[in-house]
Symmetry: C2
Subunit: 378 residues, 2 copies
């Protein structure tokens, strides 16, 4: 019998050949060989922009079940800087041309695609084809069709897929979901959610270029407000209407600046959201039949701040959300724990994004009746 | 020369025959005769429902420049109860039939119409014809045409008119207006405003009867959210879009249950609001270029609670808003101070209400380009 290396273990776990009950009952540290690295999944970051640089790479130093094993970059100068800073072996450094050979590299278990939105689909599919598990930064892609292509590729190549929804791993989010699920404050009747900031930087940044971003505020911060509207009510919306506002068309030449949207839920709850690249807003407030709860800030890197109508102040130990997120995904891969942000969730949100843009174009309310078919509740 | 009685003094002040600079420089107490009552304007409440009973009448005990002088009620049994409780002379008690003879009663200076919305116009006009100053409870009426009729009647009969916008006299409102005016936190970019409560009472109440109320949540709490959207930005909106949501159609058979609306302002600021008879919400949050400020609760009888991005907690001594409001109107009448809630403000808000209902019916954005013509800014 072969020695149970990380790779073969992962393979077994991924294929479900190890009973998940058996795995779930084992202390995590014992589920691996004693080799230090073999306790952790190797993550390669694809795209070394500011999110990789200032959030993901530092977070990978805080993770328990994964570590920064490799990088994929189109910028030659970044290679040595990252190599030195994070002690990355030369053979784990790729560029966009030789990226597909990453399948031969046993040190890389997970590929995290952190490129501009329009490149997510291509690189997630290439990662899946290389046999690597995939984290796709949010928004999952620039269209529902691309989300489907990513999901299909990951299914075909039997790799796990998650979307970079850091908030899904945040303890404040878990608490909010618990309030909703357990009706701590009664039924949620109305949710207000804002997610925006004022963009003043380089007008040539990819976020302001529709070809690269697929859209503006909605594609960026808007996805958070969609998510909070959903886990704030504990349901998928059944319809949405939306409006677009423009103040600085000379800066936001190509992408949406401010969008408001209103959601209707099957039980009658209502949510409205605002997202903007021209105004701040960072909040979730849920009004229920017996009280309320609020996160403000609700979508920042933390610490999040929350309070309730009981006078309680929510207080959880702060840990980098991205570290929690990547650990949650590693546990999903290794121990078959729940995937907190599966591809279907990213697809659901992209269906909503497309409906919002359609509502703006056509001026009406868009029905969202098939979201339940995706099997994603919150 | 005749003795300067309250009535003749008021008449002079109303007609502007006393220089307002002269009056403004006099301590208020000295501006009247020494007779206790003659220092105060006599107010008659028309309609003795819960707002008169639990808010206005107790507030009139806290006012400095007016007092409860009379009542007008259609419910015979209430006469003796109020007469006794507030020591109201029998000759100052009217019913809806003999109401028009109130013009002969020198003890009544101001008539406060607190009837169901659809009766505001009739009774405000009858009050004006009787030569009495008028406070018209909000919403001013059930149509812009009715607002015009009230304004015209008050102009014709040379009486002062204000709308029962208690928040316009609240110190928290003044502080918010100051922040906006002085750009304490920079330019206001986005305003979120909610005003709603859960209605569970008698389904036969007049608020749920469109003939009497003119509309549901929007006519009731919605007017507050419209007002906060406006003084939160310091501007009148130039367009509005709106949506209606219904959860309990068997209870809200006749009137709107939940409405969301989005406002656009000339400088590019955006506001969105929610009003409901089926969900709580009581908030104004203004996101500015250099910070934010928030009132939550923002529209309740107080105390209001506020905070800012500087970490400041807004704290003003609590006084009944309705007492402040009636005193402000009394000072307007007596000393020609600014009318904080003139009829044109009520009309402006009714133009917006009608635009919101039209947007819901027709599904589009409604332009509001002529609001500036009313001369009302915030």
């Amino acid at each position: 019998m072969k020695q149970l290396t990380r790779r073969s273990f992962n393979g077994l776990a991924t294929k479900g050949l190890l009973g998940s009950a058996f795995i779930a009952n084992m202390p995590l540290a014992n589920a691996f060989t004693t080799n230090k690295n073999s306790k952790k999944l190797g993550v390669a970051l694809v795209g070394l922009g500011s999110y990789s640089t200032y959030q993901l790479a530092p977070s990978l130093l805080d993770t328990e079940h994964c570590y920064l094993a490799g990088i994929v970059t189109g910028t030659k100068e970044k290679e040595s800087v990252w190599q030195e800073k994070y002690n990355i072996p030369k053979e784990n450094i790729y560029n966009y041309e030789n990226f597909d050979t990453i399948g031969d590299n046993d040190s890389i278990d997970v590929i995290y695609v952190v490129l501009p939105n329009s490149m997510h689909a291509e690189f997630c599919i290439r990662a899946a084809k290389a046999g690597k598990h995939v984290i796709c930064e949010k928004p999952m892609a620039v269209s529902v069709a691309e989300c489907d292509a990513i999901i299909n590729a990951c299914n075909e190549h039997k790799v796990k897929l998650s979307v970079g929804y850091r908030m899904q791993s945040d303890p404040y989010t878990h608490e909010v979901k618990k309030y909703v699920r357990e009706k701590t404050f009664g039924d949620v009747l109305f949710v207000s959610s804002d997610a925006g900031y004022v963009s003043k930087g380089n007008p040539d940044q990819w976020r302001l270029n529709k070809k690269l971003s697929g859209g503006g505020a909605l594609m960026n911060m808007g996805v958070y407000a969609i998510q909070t509207s959903i886990y704030g009510t504990g349901q998928n919306p059944i319809s949405v209407s939306a409006q677009e506002f423009s103040t600085r068309p000379d800066y936001f030449m190509d992408t949406d600046e401010t969008i408001t949207a209103q959601f209707k839920f099957e039980n009658g709850a209502v949510a409205h959201m605002m997202t903007s690249h021209n105004a701040n807003g960072n909040r979730l407030k849920c009004h229920c039949s017996k009280g309320w709860f609020e996160l403000d800030p609700a979508h920042s890197y933390g610490p999040i701040s929350g309070r309730t109508s009981n006078g309680d102040v929510l207080k959880f130990p702060h840990k980098r959300q991205q570290a929690l997120q990547m650990d949650d995904f590693a546990k999903h891969i290794l121990l078959d724990s729940k995937n907190l942000a599966p591809g279907e969730m990213g697809k659901r949100d992209m269906i909503i994004v497309e409906a919002i843009y359609k509502s703006i174009r056509e001026g009406g309310q868009e029905q969202l009746l098939s979201l339940g078919d995706l099997g994603i509740v919150v």
